[in-house]
């Protein structure tokens, strides 16, 4: 699958802040909100989306510079930040696709500013908590445990690359982007990734696709039931045999479900 061809730009916001956004493709805009690993342009999902749409992918504040988080204290201000960004980009009533932490961010944006979003795709989102199947503690995970938390099949090339990267002397400079990303996640997810979203989810009235890897060891797929019960109009797709990053681990089924849902084709 071809790698997406994206260019980055800095969008100035009226409050003096700025936001880095990657853009690729052409057509009706779709916003993609990345997960805790940062924006990975090689993600097959981006390539698939840009074939039919203009893809707008902001880099979450904090991932490039932690100082960008100083004025963003909580999920409410995070949602407000994205509302500012959408305003600056002239985005109103657009589809949003979010993965994991990006899924939580998208859901917060949709709950806070419902008119910004026309359709919502949530891929293994965090943001809810159920004592019966708790979200795993990503922050306390040892580097050697991460592949097992993120992938159903650790022999997958992406998992193997992660394992290889964790061997030998750690390259501190290379780890910095990951540490910034995890610190950002911690700000909005520590110690339990529940900031009251369940009380706001009723405000999401747009069609919402809940997509999960059936073997997600980080955020169990059973959370799809909790999300489905709280949002009015949902479809759920469980990708069997995939873990927390189904777009990478089982791209065929995952991308078909997402692109189908975005084009208005019913999914099941």
């Amino acid at each position: 699958m071809a790698t997406a061809t994206f260019t980055d730009e800095i969008v100035s916001l009226p409050n003096g802040r700025s936001q880095v956004v990657f853009r690729g493709g052409a057509g009706d805009p779709v916003v993609y909100l990345h997960g805790g690993g940062g924006l990975v342009l090689e993600d097959p999902l981006l390539g698939a989306l840009e074939r039919t749409n203009e893809v707008i992918a902001p880099v979450a504040p904090g991932f490039i510079d932690l100082a960008d988080l100083e004025e963003i204290q909580d999920v409410h201000e995070l949602a407000m930040h994205y509302d500012d960004l959408f305003e600056a980009l002239g985005l109103e009533g657009v589809p949003v696709v979010g993965h994991s932490f990006g899924g939580m961010t998208g859901a917060e944006l949709a709950a806070h500013y419902p008119r910004r979003i026309s359709r919502l795709v949530l891929i293994a989102p965090v943001g809810l908590w159920n004592d019966s199947y708790p979200v795993a503690d990503l922050f306390a995970a040892l580097p050697t445990e991460l592949p097992g938390l993120l992938f159903a099949d650790t022999s997958h090339p992406a998992a193997q690359a992660m394992i290889a990267g964790g061997e030998g002397e750690p390259d501190i400079e290379a780890l910095m982007p990951l540490m910034r990303g995890l610190t950002t996640l911690a700000k909005f997810m520590w110690p339990i990734p529940d900031r009251g979203l369940s009380r706001r989810l009723w405000r999401i009235r747009v069609p919402t696709l809940l997509l999960w890897g059936g073997d997600d060891a980080l955020v169990p797929a059973r959370y799809a039931e909790d999300w489905g019960a709280a949002i009015a109009e949902t479809s759920t797709v469980i990708v069997e045999g995939a873990g927390h990053i189904p777009t990478v681990e089982s791209p065929e089924q995952t991308l078909a479900a997402i692109t189908g849902f975005l084009s208005g084709v019913a999914v099941s």
Partner: protein, 412 residues
């Protein structure tokens, strides 16, 4: 030079096979399985006896500290320990090392309790404000590592302002909002007790201490040989701020075992030393870090050494020989110990030495023996060190006449 007797109050009945059965001595070690409160009654009281003995033997300070949910230090509230010591000691200063400010809500609680301790003890309190380890703060107490340090700094600001201010004030902080700040009681020491900051070697903490004239105490627990780089970094920070190299603006912890001979030292202290390193320090690396707990700058400078230290903590097969060679514990005859402590003082330029004379599962009689030998045979050899310097980080308002607690009478 001043000498302080530091107790961690570990759980002395950690099982032999804890490494096979459990993930970590900290955070998740099951209290219901391991902690026995009836045994704990004797353990706490013996530990307090040891601290009280240190007062009688002429130590300048006795130190307690705060840790949560672990078998390494069973003292979640150092203030409770200091309170009992305030009534049962006469001269030693009470070095509370200290209260992890961000864990108290609101942090004005710390100003209150420390003022209580200062008043009960007659002006003998030293106020320590640690950030707290990742295990304590973010894992056991659920603080957010991304904002912990900012919250800590704000809390320290509030406490000091409360002590220093002549008027009631309102505090509109990011983490604490108080309409009426007017804590009772006020401390005897005016405007406030000396502030000591226990640190683990982060770049910004040393510089912050120098700028605010706080004592910086490096609690490495890996001995003075390993501490050189960090203390050099601290004194560089002191230079950047432009203040003097007064050794009394620095403290350091060293494990010590004094015996009649070097061979006797191994016999007396090796089991306890190995117990400390192999059981008390069996901290899972998963709880030894958290994203945002350290600044990017500190991580860049110190992550490798920290990871190395963490790996060494995990080493299941550490031997007494290694512990001695690496200087984790200074053990031997009074001359051996005094020589090495002189080297410690010279190389680190530390005026406040906090000695661990109890560690691991050391029996009480051995602790008292170690304490007596240290006080009578080692301390005198080092007493005059740094006597040219004024110690400005020491209580000056201690009352000359202390109230005498009534003797125990009924039912003893």
């Amino acid at each position: 030079m001043k000498f302080h007797w530091f107790h961690l109050m570990p759980w002395p009945y950690l099982p032999d096979d804890m490494r096979e059965r459990y993930d970590s001595v900290y955070v998740t070690l099951p209290a219901k399985e391991i902690y026995d409160p009836v045994r704990g009654h004797d353990v706490y009281n013996e530990y307090l006896d040891e601290l009280e003995y240190a007062d009688q033997m002429g130590f300048d300070g006795i130190c307690v500290n705060e840790h949560h949910q672990n078998g390494y230090g069973t003292m979640p509230s150092p203030n409770i320990m200091a309170a009992t010591l305030a009534r049962r000691t006469r001269t030693a200063k009470l070095v509370v090392m200290g209260n992890s400010v961000a864990l108290y809500n609101p942090p004005i609680r710390v100003a209150e309790e420390m003022a209580m301790l200062d008043v009960i003890s007659g002006g003998r309190l030293i106020a320590g404000f640690p950030v707290g380890t990742p295990m304590d703060t973010v894992y056991c107490y659920g603080q957010n590592p991304a904002t912990l340090r900012e919250k800590y700094y704000e809390g320290v600001d509030l406490i000091l302002k409360a002590w220093r201010s002549d008027e009631m004030f309102s505090f509109n902080g990011k983490y604490t909002q108080l309409r009426y700040v007017n804590p009772w009681p006020r401390p005897i020491q005016q405007p406030h007790p000396p502030v000591w900051i226990p640190g683990g070697g982060s770049v910004e903490t040393g510089e912050w201490c120098a700028r605010n004239d706080f004592l910086y105490a490096y609690l490495s627990f890996f001995g003075y040989q390993m501490a050189r780089k960090t203390m050099d970094m601290y004194w560089e920070a002191v230079d950047r701020v432009g203040v003097d190299h007064n050794p009394y603006r620095a403290g350091f912890v060293q494990f010590v075992g004094v015996a009649d001979s070097d061979a006797e030292a191994e016999k007396l202290y090796s089991e306890a030393g190995l117990y400390f390193h192999n059981r008390c320090f069996y901290i899972s690396p998963r709880y030894f870090q958290a994203p945002g707990y350290l600044s990017i700058e500190t991580m860049l400078k110190g992550m490798k050494s920290q990871m190395k230290a963490a790996a060494e903590m995990q080493a299941p097969d550490l031997t007494w020989k290694q512990i001695i060679e690496r200087g984790y514990i200074i053990a031997g005859s009074p001359d051996t110990v005094a020589d090495q402590l002189t080297e410690l003082a010279d190389t680190l330029n530390v005026g406040h030495l906090m000695v661990m004379l109890h560690y691991g599962n050391m029996p009480k009689e051995t602790v008292l023996h170690n304490t007596e030998l240290f006080a009578t045979k080692v301390m005198p050899k080092l007493r005059d060190k740094f006597s040219d310097w004024e110690d400005r980080w020491w209580p000056t308002d201690t009352l000359s006449e202390l109230a005498t607690p009534a003797p125990l009478t009924v039912g003893v």
